[in-house]
């Protein structure tokens, strides 16, 4: 009675009323995910969503798969245990910028370096939504929020730079309302064996409205820099702008017909280019790359673990409990 077969987005809806605020970007992400899931061809019962706490973290309740709404920041740790013991499952983590980067930062970076086989969707709204509007680790410096009436003092993380610095094998960015772009990224993430890290720009109309208006509403592509593997990185209304690397390692804007325009190579083994691209931001360059920054192969933690179990069994035979208890120096009495 597998649920595999001809599923549609509807099959992924649960009977729970969706309780995000009207206009929340989370709706669009949910819709995109529910539409994308059938394409994956994985049975519903073999799919698991794990989350921490936050608005974003309500996600599992709305996906008609297995799911766990756990505790704040710990979803990557829980998913690690699940994915490592159940390689047959498709495991997804839904998390927010506070959940993933504040309290859960350590689990995130360790999951990424281990390359455990699950996909992390970070709903970045640059604010703590659920606790009603304190600044988050991605909030811009000087942000005035409930907890920072005179402006925040902390320099924000760039989630992609952090992930790349943490040895991530797959790093991408999408926008809540860009269904096509997000679906492409989700597809690539699902295809990637190992940890995949996807930052999704998500609007929180209640506490941080229009934080990403510059790309979200950018229908003409004036600000969106699409990354397409193997293609030159160009953008603008007429694709007239482009990126190229300076000799000092940083990236500058040039014209599309200039020499040395960067050709995107998501599969490049070295992380330096992906890192440099992650530093291209609206503030610094007037453009925001979206798409897959990095997608490289590296041994996957769960596979390696399974491999060691197989190798040990090959070498010592399937464990025999009686023999194990009797191992070491024994002696008989009576």
């Amino acid at each position: 009675m597998s649920t595999n077969g001809h599923l549609t987005a509807k099959d992924y809806r649960t009977d729970q009323e969706v309780r995000w605020c009207p206009g929340c970007g989370d709706y669009a992400i949910l819709a995109a995910m529910q539409s994308f899931m059938p394409e994956l061809g994985i049975a519903r019962e073999n799919t698991v969503f794990v989350s921490g706490i936050g608005c974003a973290a309500r996600f599992p309740y709305y996906m008609n798969t297995y799911g766990m709404h756990s505790i704040h920041g710990r979803a990557p740790a829980i998913a690690t245990g699940l994915a490592t013991t159940r390689p047959d499952l498709s495991v997804w983590v839904a998390t927010g910028d506070g959940d993933a980067l504040s309290i859960g930062g350590n689990h995130l970076i360790h999951a990424l370096r281990r390359n455990v086989n699950f996909k992390i969707l970070l709903f970045n709204n640059r604010i703590y939504g659920l606790t009603k509007g304190q600044y988050s680790p991605t909030s811009e410096l000087g942000k005035v929020t409930k907890s920072t009436p005179m402006g925040s003092l902390d320099w924000p993380f760039n989630p992609l730079s952090l992930a790349i610095g943490a040895e991530a094998t797959f790093v991408a960015r999408a926008i809540d309302t860009d269904k096509a772009g997000m679906t492409a990224v989700l597809r690539a993430a699902a295809e990637h064996r190992g940890s995949a890290f996807v930052e999704i720009f998500q609007n929180c109309p209640i506490f941080n409205d229009d934080a990403f208006a510059f790309v979200r509403d950018d229908k003409e592509g004036v600000n969106r820099v699409p990354l397409r593997d193997g293609e030159p990185i160009t953008w603008g209304a007429g694709a007239e702008k482009a990126l190229r690397q300076r000799s000092d390692g940083s990236i500058e804007i040039c014209r599309a017909d200039d020499e040395g325009v960067l050709v995107h190579d998501a599969h490049h083994e070295g992380a330096a280019l992906a890192f440099a691209l992650s530093r291209v931001t609206q503030e610094s360059h007037g453009g925001t790359p979206v798409g897959v920054f990095r997608d490289v192969e590296r041994p996957v933690y769960d596979d390696l673990m399974a491999g060691q179990l197989a190798a040990a069994t090959e070498k010592f035979g399937e464990g025999d409990l009686g023999a194990l208890l009797h191992s070491g120096e024994t002696w008989k009495i009576g």
């Binding site: 009675m1 597998s2 649920t3 729970q16 049975a43 519903r44 019962e45 073999n46 799919t47 698991v48 969503f49 794990v50 706490i53 599992p60 309740y61 996906m63 798969t65 297995y66 799911g67 766990m68 709404h69 756990s70 505790i71 710990r74 740790a77 829980i78 690690t80 245990g81 699940l82 994915a83 490592t84 013991t85 159940r86 499952l89 350590n106 689990h107 360790h110 673990m305 060691q308 179990l309 190798a311 040990a312 069994t313 070498k315 010592f316 035979g317 399937e318 464990g319 409990l321 009686g322 194990l324 208890l325 009797h326 070491g328 120096e329 024994t330 002696w331 008989k332 009495i333 009576g334």
Partner: protein, 615 residues
């Protein structure tokens, strides 16, 4: 021309030397030899504090105590009868434990000025009066060893010197009539790749043995008859080893793969290290980035249908509290092993204590009941681990297993169980809807109150669980006041109900007329039982009951307590079980508390009992 043989009933030997002197190896080989003679044994290593201190220094002293006897013994002994001290620092730190008239064997070669100074001796104790009350055997162990090994090719003088521990072992083996063959075999295997080193060690061992026979320093040799132990196959085992094997056994018995999430910490690391070697048993060990992740991963594995376990010591266990709270809400099985050590905070990491009982019971926000199981001896860690897993699986709940540094590193002979005799703790996953067409993840088993365990991959049972309060039966999020009160009580009842599924509390009262009950729990079983023996030998009656289940208590606990005029509760804390039994049963029990980072001394416990009996 062998020397006269004197019969002894029991002996306690302590080997003490520098960290580099190989005392742990010496002690454990002496133990192996002794085991083969059929004596009962109990051992306790005393590791130096965490870092390898400079050679010859006081903090660098490493010790190993072996207690063996012709009867069943209960502890490694309060104090040694025989102390082997390999250097001045070892003498300094250990001599205060040797009773008057005790035997002291010292390596006189090590008593040079530098070493004496490092140990803080102004004058050489071998040359002044200070050791007058002991039977001192001053033996130049180093030079005798080096002398004996002359001419073995490929062995440096340093390496020769380092064999002096085997010389000491040989001497002790002779003194107590232990066979050295097992050690010879052991050495040959251990140094198979460097036969010259094997040879050196074996020669040193034999030389030590021969030295005993020939020197005039030792007039008699001793014999300790075999103990009357239950027939069967034995092996010597430490608590951490037994606990690890218990977890592997539970995995087999439950037919669930074992997943261990752990972060290294003294004295729990050995469990992670031990289990990492059982990959062919399907055991997955995950060294996490911290204790929170270790517990979280175990919860994730449990959600996926594994037997999820996490191990740590106090400073790590506190970090898991929020995650355990989640598991309580999720009602998933999970076993948390706390190898207790002296605290608070970092405390004294290598030393035992029973300070975490109230923490594991109450150390989570809100009402979050958990069963607690505590082993009583090193080998009992095996059974206690299986019991913890049994309860966790059957009742779908986190269970704490409370061992301690004393059990963890101490060892004793373990009568190996028949695999067939081990309990069947297999459990079943939900595979079908349980309410018409629907699957209700919080519909409970009427008897156990456990909820169904439906693991991902099961078609038709897709469901979502989480840490928010959930509606009875459906598991949907609920803020309903009455539902919350109900669920809070159901969670409490589920755990309380386990009382009907565990054995009653047994009382050991051989005289049958005791008016004083001694109530203990966990790792103090040995010292308390030995204390009771001592009290009874002194002609007084005393009853002893020892709790293995700390939550819930056995159903007859109150009744047992009320049967006695007085109740003494000895603990290695300031009175934690004491608080619980006073609150639950309103008995005016009294504590005997020592928080010294060392096992309770049975002599002191006996004094306390006698004082109470005589009151």
């Amino acid at each position: 021309m062998s020397k006269p043989v004197e019969q002894l009933s029991q002996v306690i030997v302590r080997f003490a030397g520098d960290s580099g002197d190989g005392m742990q190896l010496t002690g454990s080989q002496f133990t192996s030899e002794t085991a083969l003679l059929g004596n009962d044994i109990s051992t306790l290593p005393d590791f130096p504090a965490e870092i390898r201190a400079p050679a010859g220094s006081l903090p660098g002293v490493s010790g190993f105590q072996v207690h063996f006897a012709d009867f069943d013994i209960l502890t490694p002994g309060d104090a040694p009868n025989v102390l082997v001290a390999m250097n001045p620092a070892a003498l300094k730190t250990n001599i205060k434990d040797l009773p008057k008239g005790g035997t002291l064997i010292v390596n006189s070669d090590a008593f040079n000025e530098r070493n004496l100074q490092k140990a803080g001796y102004a004058t050489n104790p071998l040359e002044d009066e200070s050791l007058g009350e002991f039977q001192v055997h001053s033996v130049p162990l180093t030079s005798l060893t080096v002398g004996a090994l002359k001419g073995i090719e490929g062995v440096t003088p340093r390496e020769a010197e380092r064999s002096k521990n085997m010389f000491a072992l040989g001497l002790m083996s002779w003194l107590y009539g232990r066979p050295i063959e097992p050690t010879v075999e052991f050495l040959e295997e251990k140094f198979a790749k460097r036969p010259e080193i094997a040879e050196a060690n074996v020669k040193a061992l034999q030389a030590g043995y021969a030295f005993g026979e020939t020197t005039e320093s030792f007039a008699v040799t001793y014999e300790i008859k075999p103990a009357k132990l239950t027939p069967g196959t034995y092996r010597n085992i430490t608590g951490n080893q037994a606990l690890s094997l218990g977890l592997v056994a539970a995995s087999r018995l439950s037919k669930l793969p074992l997943f261990l999430g752990a972060y290294p910490i003294t004295p729990a690391s050995a469990i992670l290290e031990e289990l990492a070697g059982y990959k062919n048993f399907g055991v997955r060990t995950f060294q996490a980035e911290d204790e929170i992740a270790a517990a979280g991963a175990a919860v994730g594995a449990a959600f996926g249908g594994s037997l999820g376990v996490t191990t740590s010591a106090g400073p790590g266990v506190v970090l898991k509290a929020e995650t355990i709270g989640l598991a309580i809400m999720l009602e998933l099985p999970l076993v948390i092993c706390d190898i207790q050590r002296a605290g608070p905070s970092t405390g004294m990491p290598t030393k035992p204590e029973q300070g975490d009982l109230l923490m594991v019971l109450f150390g989570r926000n809100s009402e979050s009941p958990v069963p607690v199981v505590a082993p009583r001896s090193p080998s009992d860690c095996f059974d206690a681990a299986i019991e913890a897993c049994r309860i966790a699986l059957k009742y779908r709940t986190p269970v704490y297993l409370l061992s301690d540094a004393y059990l963890a590193n101490g060892s004793e002979p373990w009568l190996l169980p028949d695999v067939e005799s081990l309990p069947d703790i297999s459990t079943t996953f939900a595979t079908e809807p349980n309410d018409g067409d629907e699957f209700l993840p919080y519909l409970r088993d009427e008897q156990t109150l456990a909820r169904p365990w439906a693991v991902p991959g099961t078609p038709g049972l897709e469901h979502r669980i989480g840490g928010l309060e959930k509606a009875d039966r459906t598991g949907n999020i609920s803020y309903d006041p009455d539902n919350h009160d109900l669920m809070t009580r159901l969670r409490a009842q589920k755990v309380a109900g386990i009382a009907s599924d565990i054995p009653e509390l047994e009382v050991d009262d051989p005289d049958g007329d005791a008016r004083v009950l001694v109530l203990g729990w966990g790792g103090t079983y040995g010292p308390i039982a030995a204390a009771c023996r001592r009290v009874r030998t002194g002609g007084r009656s005393v009853a002893h009951a020892h709790l293995r289940h700390l939550n819930p208590f056995p159903r007859n606990t109150g009744e047992v307590l009320r049967r006695y005029d007085k109740v003494l509760v000895p603990e290695m804390n300031l009175g934690q079980l004491l608080k619980l039994v006073r609150a639950d049963f309103l008995v005016d029990a009294v504590g005997y508390n020592r928080v010294s980072g060392i096992p309770l001394r049975s002599a002191e416990v006996a004094d306390a009992i006698e004082a109470m009996v005589d009151q």
